[in-house]
Symmetry: C2
Subunit: 639 residues, 2 copies
């Protein structure tokens, strides 16, 4: 299949992993089924039916409700690509028929505007998400075409893309308030070979921050239908302001990354999902065009995010109000927003950077985000989801089945369904193992066929076994995760003296079922945040291998605030098959206040109170809130 954005596609990889397979299987068997039912229950499909039948009104859900159906189609298509499933295929075709039926002769399809405000199409680019929905339609269409070879949805996407291309830059100059179409257009360019889609993506990227269309809309509501101000579409904030307007009522573009041309941006700003989708699309453009200036901007933005605005879980965007970034080192824990979709968007962006540069640091961040900030977003039964992923909880934050704004669940579904794309790369004259996920990959490297089977005991034990067959010489490269304190590699039982160095071990050879064994030493490690991070002052996080750990009330006798981890103490790891589908539990030495002598006292002199030894039990962060509700902390106090 084509997988334009990555060098290895969904169908090239078959996952068979003791850790990930249960998640991927639940995603297929539970989540995707459940979400199909939700498309019906939430009115998404009915919106398409009404639009197809030329009805007026009766629209249900958010104004970008169509995107739920597109994301479901994308996820379902990945599943169809991996294994045929007549029942799923039938429902996919049914949904595609609805979308195609709703499409207007012009190519336009957006059931909100078709049913509710047909006269106001393309009038409110800030808010109304037509281009965002178009992007998801295109992504679904590319996935469906890749999976089935059928053009039923691709035709719809092409017609809509052509319509967008006709309208934008001609009738209208403007960019989407919510990005996403940029990266989708690059995918469409790859599938169709039509350069105009690449040009349209470049148009949207280059115009952002230059055009005054977004500002004009916000300050001339009457000219765009007037309604936007009244129905809250300006997204008023709690303090009476607006996400697009500053204290003086002036336009500020940061919410939609439109405060400056992308080339001139230095810091990641605004709505974090929008930011990730934009930067992913920009990275696609750089990959196609080699635009150095854009690449430098992307590198600056990545450095700002990863050295000043990134949770230890890989989560991003601390602020609930605008679902996004704030200032450097603002990494509040209990109030962290860290939207699941933003973690997913970060994986999209980093995978593109990895493919573009081959630098292991991007794969490290993908691994951190996959195992922690992303995975926590989904319950262990596959039916409940976090929108926000705080790093501390007083016990009242729980996953929900669905959301009014249901972006996260189907986004998680499409990532699980396409997880294979993230495990290997083939684009640097080698087959590179980027993630240690048990699987078989069949692909070619510079025309030479190669098949690699990976068996991995991660994240619990750092043991990986690979078996490789190739039809000629194919270098195999193994990423050395940043958490590995030591690495041992043997081929056919013979220890290799590897250089490592740039984050990869490279093994030359022609392979005939050779067995490569890798041991990554992983020890529990206490981690400190930068001194400027107020929320983590005097606190430590505990990591082991790719996993970030957390303490939950259910495992500990005392309220969590009473524990202080002994930084010179021991951390014991104990694998418990009976717990949370099998997890390695950590117990750290800690101290807690001695409770003697407090009767009738609220305050006492420090020299009269003492502490005593205790053990703090911690479980992987992704697994939290899957048992009795209670307090949770990723950053316990340190003694």
């Amino acid at each position: 299949m084509t997988s334009p954005q990555y060098s290895v596609g969904v169908t090239d990889v078959e996952i068979d992993d003791q850790f990930w397979s249960p998640w991927v299987t639940r995603n297929r068997e539970v989540t995707i089924e459940y979400q199909y039912d939700q498309l019906e229950e939430s009115g998404s499909l009915e919106n398409f039916r009404r639009a197809r039948d030329g009805k007026e009104g009766g629209f249900q859900g958010m104004w970008f409700q169509d995107s739920d159906a597109y994301k479901w189609l994308e996820a379902a298509s990945y599943e169809l690509a991996k294994a045929d499933d007549p029942d799923l295929r039938e429902r996919v075709d049914e949904v595609i028929d609805l979308v195609a039926g709703a499409q207007e002769a012009s190519g336009y399809v957006n059931t909100y505007f078709q049913l509710v405000e047909p006269e106001l199409k393309w009038t409110n680019l800030n808010i109304m998400h037509e281009l965002y929905c178009a992007g998801h339609l295109i992504e679904a269409a590319v996935a469906h075409y890749d999976a089935t070879g059928e053009e039923s949805l691709l035709d719809v996407a092409v017609d809509f893309a052509d319509h967008v291309d006709d309208v934008f830059g001609d009738e209208i100059d403007g960019v989407p308030g919510h990005e996403g179409i940029e990266l989708a257009l690059v995918k469409l360019y790859h599938v169709t070979g039509e350069e105009r889609y690449l040009d349209l993506a470049r148009y949207f990227v280059d115009l952002r921050g230059h055009d005054d269309r977004l500002e004009w809309e916000l300050t001339n509501p009457d000219e765009i239908g007037g309604h936007s101000w009244d129905d809250g579409a300006l997204i008023p904030t709690d303090d009476g302001g607006s996400l697009f307007l500053g204290d003086e009522g002036e336009y500020v573009g940061t919410y939609a990354q439109a405060h400056a041309p992308v080339r001139e941006q230095d810091t990641v700003e605004g709505h974090s999902v929008r930011a990730m989708y934009l930067y992913a699309g920009v990275t696609d453009l750089v990959a196609e065009t080699g635009d150095e200036e854009l690449f430098e901007a992307i590198e600056r933005l990545w450095a700002n995010m990863t050295t000043k605005r990134l949770y230890v879980t890989g989560g991003i965007g601390p602020e609930r109000e605008h679902e996004g970034f704030t200032g450097d080192y603002d990494l509040r824990n209990e109030d962290a927003y860290a939207e699941t979709c933003a973690a997913i968007g970060s994986i999209f962006w980093n995978q593109r950077l990895l493919e573009l540069t081959g630098e292991a640091k991007y794969a490290d961040l993908i691994e951190r985000t996959l195992y922690n900030g992303f995975l926590a977003g989904v319950s262990m039964d596959g039916t409940r989801f976090f929108y926000e992923n705080p790093l501390a909880s007083s016990g009242d934050h729980h996953r929900k089945g669905w959301f009014t704004c249901a972006c996260c669940p189907p986004n998680a579904a499409r990532l699980f369904a396409s997880l294979g794309q993230y495990v290997y790369s083939t684009n640097r004259g080698a087959l590179t193992v980027q993630q240690y996920v048990g699987s078989t990959v069949e692909t070619t490297v510079d025309g030479t066929a190669v098949e690699l089977t990976q068996s991995s005991e991660l994240p619990w034990v750092g043991e990986v076994t690979l078996t490789v067959e190739s039809e000629g010489a194919v270098p195999v490269r193994l990423r050395v995760p940043s958490w590995a304190t030591d690495v041992a590699v043997s081929v056919e039982g013979e220890e290799i003296d590897h250089g490592g160095g740039d984050g990869y071990v490279e093994l030359e050879g022609e392979w005939d079922g050779d067995r490569i064994h890798v041991t990554f030493e992983q020890t529990a490690e206490l981690v400190r945040a930068h001194p400027a991070v107020e929320a983590d002052a005097g606190r430590v996080a505990v990591e082991r291998g790719p996993l970030v750990y957390c303490a939950e009330a259910v495992d500990n006798d005392r309220p969590l605030h009473q524990y202080a981890v002994r930084t010179d103490g021991d951390v014991d790891a104990d694998h418990r098959e009976d717990l949370l589908e099998g997890v390695t539990v950590l117990e750290t030495d800690a101290s807690v206040p001695n409770l003697d002598g407090w009767d009738g006292s609220l305050y006492r002199p420090d020299d009269e109170v003492g502490t005593e030894s205790a053990r703090l039990t911690m479980v992987p962060y992704y697994a939290w809130d899957n048992r009795d509700p209670g307090e949770m902390q990723v950053w316990p106090r340190a003694e």
Copy 2:
């Protein structure tokens, strides 16, 4: 003067203290003047004029705006009691004339109802504060009568009290939503000798928690005029509930301490100012009636407050939403409400408990609250006030000149103006020095005249000198503050071997200008909060003598969160006359993160990062936010 509630009155004491006199003088010269102007500017006086002239409408301010004028009259009367001042007396008389002029023939006076809703008097006891305003009128009248011997305002108060007595228990059975009239009626009983005021106070105390009037009003808005629901008078909360109604819409009386009969209450609940005024009135009743059951309830409530719900500053009531108490050990710092008026109310209540029981613990809490939780409420120029007194700030909490709900500034003014009442007691066969405030007291103990002059170097140095003259044998008792680590007492240079024991040193004698010298040893002390207090976990407060200290950004180079106080380190005290009108500054040994090696890193292994020595500078909490704005912490982290 009569000072019914305390054994020593305002006119018995002349304050001349190096610490307190500047505050008392500013209160007289700046605050009371400024607040008189505010009475005019805020429309308080105009409301009375309009009511006097029989006009309709045009009411300005909150519906309890009259109480501002009454509190100002009370404060001004205390000043007139201490020293005549024709200009002040003239303005007092002018305001009294307005109040008297506005009073209806029935005795009723409340300009909100007279101007706005004359038909709805006494219909909404929960919200509309008529009885609360009546209480403040009575308190002002008693103070004015005590100060001047004139009955101009007392007559108004008596007529209104008689009207209340006629209406309540007869036409209406009900209690005030906002207490205050109970303690006022006991004062009025003392001045007039009329038992029916005492009975009326007892009626309000005993009916509370028994009657269903408050519930009935809330559930039958139409029968009380209907308006209350519409104009927010139900005090809706941010989460869409109401301060009086529970999740199911059911009545909950905790906000106004009406959830149970006072005799059965175990925990301090609801709006903290209301709670303090109620308990003060209940304590007055106990003092008059010897009601054991009521006293036990008061003791239970005090124990709950002081062992589970009290800030180290003496502040109370952490929650902004209902301005009051929440659960045990909820002592959040940055979000602390800790209203200035609640600290004042706590002083009122504790002084009554002190007079009733003679137990030093009440005087200790008064001292803690006066020097910290109360005093921080007023700026060092006397013109700006805190409504909330948080124990930590990120730098955006500042005193303001006035408030829409302006309860705190005039409440502070009446406390400063009557500070002399809190320094001594005479009611246990001795002249007891309760607070170490430089002053002269002329009074009698069991009929024997005694004059004592106190010179105190508190809070900076624990040296107090007393000179006593008496016409016969009068025991002099000296409270030993709970913070004193050692006490030395000498009379005429001769060291006394004192027992101490119950918190007081007692010196028998007939005094002829004898000089008593007392040294209270005070050292800076690190204090821990109860392990159940999450907000203070891993943190210490620093106290020295009666003062609680805080760190402010202006005195420290690093962001405050980077400092961890070394609990085994030194604390140096340095008196700086040039700073904040002269304060003793503390410097504690601390550690801060070493900043080396963080370039380009957001997270690093604990064993690769280090700390270095630093000093954390702290100033008295009362003095914070009087210089450049910035961060503040009462509870820095402890190493």
